[in-house]
Subunit: 241 residues, 2 copies
């Protein structure tokens, strides 16, 4: 059955890239000198070092590791992608004639535009009716495989908040950055007594990153408990003497 | 050899408790109705459900689980504790005559005060010469065991920023809270090109929490890389055609 999935690399303090760069996203050499790059490069290095990632980009080398297997599995599971407009703008030029997706990509945007057909199975369809409609179209295109949220963080928060996400996999890079763009935050729109509950379904330990996969259970009230006090009291201090 | 360790329960979005409550920390029943409690209770529930935690508090019941084993191990490894003043203020009354530490505790504070001797091996020594001195005193008292930072979050950030921490274990509760007090943040004082690097040394998968232990490697410059482009190019798109 088709699941709506997302996966993202984050630092241990919850950033998926450095502080926001306001430059033109197509100015790659400027971006490389900007505030986003150092954090983004550090967080995603585990993937760049992996053979499966490099193969998709057309580069040789890389390690055949558990990290590489996870990347392979992630690509194989996705039958279609949904992507934010900002991520598309940043990727359009560098991805070139044969983008790494090799599947239909639905871009959530306000500007309508002709479908872009690329080599290797990738197409970009521009959806102006919102993320829910984009997921619907991607679901039809996925032919029973998963619909993967390709990013960025804003779109991911949006589908989480709207209860549209079934599975989230985080790749936690063991580094503290102190500042940057957070994957999660107040824009989830949770009240003081609300949480979004998840269930860890798979944890993979690798030398330079930890992969945790979660099933998203959904919104739930946060409740207080009695901190164990309703159990029988035992021991010398428990009766207050 | 004595290590300086810390362990903390956090939500998947990096909070260790709900938004800060400005009430008198000794007003427990007020605190229970305040903004901190719902998040704090949710994040720490895995521990409250564990037999080893309940035993330390004088309560019966609880599960004999991998979570309980980790709590037991954590208590056993600590020969002495270092604690922030705010945490001590909040705990002094509820911990009662036999606090759960069963070891010397060094409280970092600006107000000097006589040593408090409690039952079961716990004592509270008030250190006015800063956290580094408190760690030094705890190290002497630990008799070869570890010095554990008991909390709270502010003290933990301080020892991380100062390079005083050797090991950090996070218990990641699978819930998004959206808001609260973050364990990590800008107060780590990291520059735009600086990170604090860690190395995951143990990952334990449990049904309702994920335990990740890290060795703290220390500050390091964040560097850009060539994203794999220095490898030989392969495939049809790699030469730009």
């Amino acid at each position: 059955m088709t699941k709506v999935t997302a996966q993202m690399s984050i630092s241990l303090d919850g950033f998926y890239t450095g502080p926001r760069d306001t430059r033109d996203p197509n100015d790659m050499s400027g971006w490389m000198r900007g505030p986003e790059a150092p954090g983004f490069f550090r967080i995603t290095r585990w993937a760049v070092d992996a053979m499966a990632w490099r193969e998709r980009q057309g580069y040789a080398g890389g390690e055949q590791s558990i990290d590489s297997e996870i990347i392979e599995e992630t690509f194989a599971a996705a039958g279609a992608y949904v992507m934010g407009r900002r991520m598309f703008d940043a990727g359009e030029v560098p991805w070139g004639e044969e983008p790494p997706f090799r599947a239909p990509v639905f871009v959530v945007t306000h500007r309508s535009r002709e479908v872009l057909e690329r080599q290797g199975g990738t197409s970009f369809t521009f959806v102006t009716e919102g993320v829910e409609r984009a997921i619907e179209l991607a679901r039809e295109a996925a032919a029973g495989k998963d619909v993967a949220m390709a990013g960025g963080g804003e779109l991911l928060r949006q589908v989480l908040a709207a209860g549209l996400l079934d599975q989230l996999e985080l790749h936690i890079a063991p580094v503290l950055l102190g500042d940057g763009q957070r994957l999660f935050g107040p824009s989830l729109g949770l009240g003081a007594d609300d949480g979004i509950e998840l269930v860890p379904t798979r944890v993979v330990e690798a030398p330079t990153v930890t992969h945790i996969r979660y099933a998203v259970a959904g919104r739930s009230k946060l409740v207080l408990d009695d901190r164990g006090a309703s159990g029988d009291l035992v021991g010398p201090s428990a009766d207050g003497t």
